[in-house]
């Protein structure tokens, strides 16, 4: 049977051979730390991919299981002394699974609905959000939690991971430009995300306020859609490519100094838009240019330097690295520098802040148990710091740790670095 070729980047011999199976990645991998299985370690996963690529072993249930269990947090890339680009390898493996492997019906339907029928369509996201908002605000949620009916269906924990839907969606800001306050120092295009429009509208608004307050004209291009990260991570490359094509059209790169996002997960994919295409394809060049222009908002602001006056926030804050910022984009210092820039703020390091909180895109839904185990560990460390606020730099991580703060009643606020900056800016 001739299979259709997998589009986009295909790893070559050297990409795999670079792994000298030294094992330095093992203890950096959240799933290896959980289960201590070679099969759920980066080295073991690469080894499995090699066997599959060699054709020695077909794509089996076991292979799919272990590749699915990977958070794609890329902590192994930071640990790897050989510079293995694991993210590239695992995303290709997932694309291969998507092509070669037939998942069980329920999983097929769910994946189809989420990746193909929901995320690419803002209107559908908005509809789902309104339903969810009704559940959360009408008293249904309290009723469900109070009666314990969720527990009956084993959904109680999962339900807590649901995002809180904003009262006002962000969609009405699309197509607008927000001028810099004071002297104009830069002009940026803001990448608004997909689900963030309905669940993090306030964060997006705060991001625009912080950028403008620091002398940036902020353009929010109309017609932008989901970045495609979730689809790409899931191996649904055709959807990711389609979304990327759309965004390449929507963003006029020559008009701005940078494309800025407040979501590390999106940023990491946007910075690798070229991976979705092969060098021969017409979009490749444009995708590379887009990738080069993308900046995480913390990274951008740190490089630009803060110009807005800040008031004191007398808070003890700890910072959880977002995997796709730290490991995916190798940005470690920028968010810390911004936090330290706030007068009165006491930044305490979070032990194991470089380990995933368990959010990892849709991981907390697809692998809830593992996700919650990682969350438990994370909240345990966070509590020990005595911090009043856990700061991070990605909406997914915010959701996860907000759920954690609720489950473990840690009395800690979970905020995006930008939200803290926003609070500190003098009007």
């Amino acid at each position: 049977m001739a299979l259709s070729p997998i589009p986009g980047l295909i790893p070559v011999y050297e990409d795999y051979a670079r792994c000298i199976h030294c094992g330095l990645c093992l203890n950096a991998c959240p799933t290896y730390r959980l289960w201590n299985l070679e099969a759920d370690s980066p080295r073991g996963r690469i080894h499995q991919m090699i066997h599959v690529e060699q054709g020695e072993v077909p794509v089996t249930d076991s292979f799919v299981d272990h590749i699915d269990k990977c958070l794609d947090c890329r902590a192994c890339e930071t640990a790897c002394p050989s510079g293995v680009e694991y993210g590239k390898l695992v995303e290709y493996a997932r694309a291969r699974i998507e092509r070669d492997y037939r998942r069980p019906l329920l999983s097929r339907v769910a994946r189809d609905v989420v990746y193909r029928r929901l995320l690419p369509y803002p209107k559908r996201i908005a509809t789902v959000a309104r339903l969810l908002r009704f559940y959360q605000r009408s008293g249904l949620q309290s009723l469900a939690r109070f009666t314990g009916i969720l527990k009956l269906f084993g959904l109680d924990k999962r339900e807590r991971l649901l995002p809180r839907v904003d009262s006002n969606f962000f969609y009405d800001r699309l197509g607008k430009t927000f001028p810099a306050t004071g002297e104009r120092r830069a002009r940026v295009a803001f990448f608004a995300g997909c689900v963030a429009n309905v669940t993090f509208a306030e964060l997006n608004a705060a991001t625009i306020r912080v950028l403008t307050a620091n002398g940036c004209d902020v353009v929010v291009p109309n017609g932008q859609l989901c970045c495609g990260a979730l689809a790409a991570h899931a191996g649904v490359r055709d959807v990711a490519r389609e979304l990327a094509r759309n965004n390449l059209r929507a963003f006029l790169l020559n008009d701005v100094d940078a494309v800025v996002t407040n979501a590390a997960g999106c940023g990491s994919t946007l910075k690798e838009y070229d991976h979705l295409f092969t060098p021969g394809e017409p979009e490749y060049g444009q995708a590379s240019a887009f990738a080069k222009k993308t900046r995480d908002v913390t990274e951008f602001l740190t490089a630009l330097g803060l110009s807005a006056l800040l008031k004191a926030l007398p808070l003890r804050v700890t910072y959880q690295d977002s995997c796709h910022l730290l490991h995916g984009q190798k940005v470690r210092e920028a968010p810390r520098k911004l936090l330290r820039a706030i007068p009165g703020l006491d930044l305490v390091e979070l032990p194991y802040s470089d380990l995933c909180c368990g959010s990892a895109g849709v991981y907390n839904v697809t692998q809830t148990d593992a996700s919650l185990e990682l969350l438990a560990e994370k909240m345990h460390c966070a509590s020990a710091t005595g911090a009043q606020v856990i700061a991070t730099s990605n909406p997914g991580c915010l959701l996860q740790m907000r759920a954690g703060a609720e489950i473990y009643q840690s009395n800690q606020q979970v905020l995006h670095v930008i939200e803290l900056l926003d609070q500190a800016i003098l009007n």
Binding site: I10, P11, Y13, A17, G23, N27, N36, E38, E56, P351
Partner: protein, 507 residues
């Protein structure tokens, strides 16, 4: 059922033709289902791996060797380990212990199949006695995690092999692991005071004492570094050291390698004992710099990374003395790391050096010879000369202060001729190390990799006694067979390993 490895079938992967060979032992028949069932009865089904696709992942470690087990089990208590060992003995199946599988000599590989006991889930600290500077840990405890736990008391576990963030203390004990800081603080054996062991017949016993000194023979000293060939270690009591008051890290930059190696010899001769003294040659540091950006100057021929620790007064005096020696030997520049961040960056460059070379060539052969430190300059010259003769660039990243060389021969295993020459060059280097009064391995262990080289150092009589000790504890070679002792007695060649490295090529 067993995976049908395709012999020497050629496979075309992404446009490149490469050869895949099966692990050495794949011809062996799989474990009898009674053994698997027995293991499942002892541990529960979820703690026993026996499907081929799972076993594939335990055929490698950090070395170029391979060996696939027939089953992999994850006990969580010493009792379970003992039961597994007993069961294996009943069925006459070998048992191999494994920690994280980061070893560099094939020590934790199932050379002749059998049951592999992975200690990764026995990873708890059983006792942390900060007052008396001792910790009792299970063998699967990760080296780095112990230090993290001890940090609260201002203490740390001294052995720090490059793999410290992943490797287990059980593995460190088996291989008697070293690391850059062993120069001042000694290797693993100097930090282990007591062990709990499971013998090949399943008997559980304890040796050593919390204190360290005890009545009778130093059995703990015998078991540490015995590479899992005498007993399985199930509990370890270690010493924890107090963090030094002051640490200074120097980077000395040289325009020629001789200057750097003479500096090391001179530092030793002047009896300055740094906590660590590491050397990277120019070619290696360029590869590292490309990746880590540690600030190694790209146009230099060699750098020395020297760390001095202790009382502020001691460190200050030593920094001055080291600087003087470096400049006397024509160092272009000596930099002192200004803060912890700079220090970490320099060390990151060193600790990631092996891996960084993985970016240059698809495969490499890391040697682990030790030589008298007074002979470093001549040894490096000889290595360079050997490299030129065989037409290889041989990188040098090593624990200079210990005389522990790590020449790295890079090659492309897809070219069989190149591989053969790499092995020949390596053998010549090792022979030279032995010739000038050195040893085969300073910290990686003998394992499968260097067993055939052992006759370069040891006589038949030496082997006779070592074999009697082996047989005193492990008479039927039920534990970790095929390690340390040469299989082809007296040949003294690395040649048989040629096959192994070709096999290690992933694609």
């Amino acid at each position: 059922m067993h995976v049908d490895c395709k012999g020497d079938a050629s496979l075309t992967i992404v446009g490149k033709e490469v050869t895949y060979l099966p692990a050495e032992n794949t011809a062996r028949k799989p474990l009898h289902r009674d053994v698997i069932r027995g293991l499942q009865n002892i541990l529960g089904a979820s703690m026993v791996l026996h499907r081929p696709e799972d076993l594939l992942l335990y055929e490698y470690d950090g070395s170029v060797e391979k060996g696939r087990p027939g089953a992999v089990v994850f006990p969580t208590t010493t009792q379970e380990v003992s039961q597994v060992v007993r069961l294996a003995a009943q069925h006459d199946v070998p048992v191999i212990g494994r920690g994280a599988g980061t070893g560099l000599s094939g020590g934790a590989l199932a050379r002749t199949g059998g049951v592999m006991i992975v200690f990764a889930r026995m990873n708890r600290i059983l006792e942390l006695d900060l007052e008396n500077q001792r910790a009792v840990v299970q063998p699967g405890m990760v080296n780095y995690e112990l230090t993290r736990a001890a940090e609260a008391g201002g203490l740390y576990f001294a052995p720090d092999p490059s793999s410290w963030k992943s490797c287990t203390i059980g593995g460190n004990v088996s291989e008697n692991a070293g690391g850059p800081h062993t120069l001042a603080y000694g290797v693993t054996t100097n930090h282990v005071t007591a062990l709990e062991l499971v013998l090949p017949d399943g008997e559980i016993c304890r040796v050593g004492s919390r204190h360290g000194d005890s009545v009778g023979y130093d059995l703990a000293g015998l078991f540490v570094g015995s590479e899992g060939t005498l007993a399985l270690v199930t509990e370890i009591t270690v010493k924890l050291l107090r963090k030094p008051e002051n640490v200074k890290t120097l980077l000395a930059i040289f325009d020629d390698v001789d200057g750097a190696s003479e500096t090391v010899a001179e530092i030793t001769a002047r009896a300055i004992t740094p906590a660590a003294c590491e050397m990277l040659d120019g070619w290696t540091l360029r590869a590292v710099e490309d990746f880590i950006h540690a600030g190694f100057p790209l146009d230099s021929a060699a750098v020395l990374l020297i760390e001095l620790e202790g009382l502020a007064e001691v460190v200050a005096a030593q920094v001055a003395a080291v600087e003087e020696v470096c400049l006397e030997h024509h160092a272009r520049e000596v930099r002192v790391a200004r803060d912890e961040q700079e220090r970490e960056l320099l060390w990151r460059g060193r600790k990631n050096a092996f891996g960084a070379l993985g970016r240059i060539a698809p495969s490499n052969y890391v040697l682990d010879g030790v030589i008298p430190r007074s002979k470093i300059p001549q040894a490096l010259r000889r290595i360079r000369e050997i490299g030129e003769r065989y037409n290889f660039k041989i990188g040098n990243i090593f624990h200079a202060g210990d005389g522990n060389l790590h020449p790295i021969v890079l090659f492309d295993p897809r070219d069989a001729g190149q591989y053969q020459r790499a092995i020949e060059a390596s053998a010549e280097i090792i022979r030279y190390c032995v010739e000038i009064g050195g040893a085969l391995t300073g910290e990686h262990g003998v394992g499968m990799e260097k067993s055939e080289l052992m006759p370069l150092l040891f006589s038949d009589d030496d082997f006779g006694l070592m074999r009697r000790i082996h047989d005193a504890f492990n008479p039927r070679s039920a534990l970790n067979p095929g390690k340390i002792f040469p299989l082809n007695k007296g040949c003294g060649e690395i040649t048989p390993r040629a096959q192994a490295a070709v096999r290690a090529v992933p694609l």
